[in-house]
Symmetry: C2
Subunit: 110 residues, 2 copies
DNA sequence: GGGTTTGTTCGAGATTCATCGAACATCTAA
DNA sequence: TTAGATGTTCGATGAATCTCGAACAAACCC
């Protein structure tokens, strides 16, 4: 089985995180994740191949931004929100503040 | 003389800014600028060629991060701090909060 | 004017990156 | 066991990026 590896956020550098966030697809993935709480790779509303989606998730994972766990044939992803807030204060808010695509979302208070 | 062009921050997207911040050299440049207030290209304490420094400044400029003005044969650069704080709240603090590390500096004694 | 300083621009080389289809692996359902 | 669903990995390809030296341009100083 595939044991996903996640870095300690203390070992993640700022350039690595910024690089991970420099792609519009990955920013959109992060927003979807924050919006839904947890999503499988296939649930990402993007018109790119699943190979590319897998690649983007790997980048996000290695940058310490998301946490992936296997469940059946699917992999469920979440944003490492609390840890990130400690390591890079304000980063998540920055990502979410850009282009608020969905307004009046149903109380998913975080 | 060369008329430097600077984008409106409203037109700058998050991926573009993140891309600009994904290079350790450019992060170091920003830190030096914030520390000194205003610096010429040649005053950047990095061991890279002036052609490369010029390139990095162009990237930072086009990402809306720094403002460049000519003065004699030199070009003085400042961080667009106030504007950035409005457009991308917390971004500058994020860059400064990262522990300063050695970027392309001389190696320590062996 | 001639020379110096400062920075830009122009190739060019090397590396990295995003993207895809195809093949593969793993788990679930029938 | 077989078939389907879900992701990963493997090449490959085209684009972007980082870096440099060399040539160039503009402003200063003598």
């Amino acid at each position: 089985m595939k044991p996903y590896t996640h870095p300690e956020l203390a070992d993640v550098t700022l350039p690595v995180v910024m690089q991970a966030l420099s792609d519009p697809c990955r920013i959109e993935i992060l927003r979807s994740l924050m919006d839904a709480g947890e999503l499988a790779c296939g649930d990402i509303p993007l018109t790119i191949s699943k190979a590319t989606v897998s690649h983007h998730f790997a980048v996000l994972r290695e940058a310490g931004l998301v946490l992936t766990r296997s469940e059946g044939t699917r992999c469920l992803n979440t944003v490492r929100e609390n840890e990130l807030e400690k390591r890079f204060p304000g980063l998540i808010a920055l990502v979410l503040s850009e282009k608020p695509k969905k307004v009046a979302k149903k109380a998913v208070s975080a």
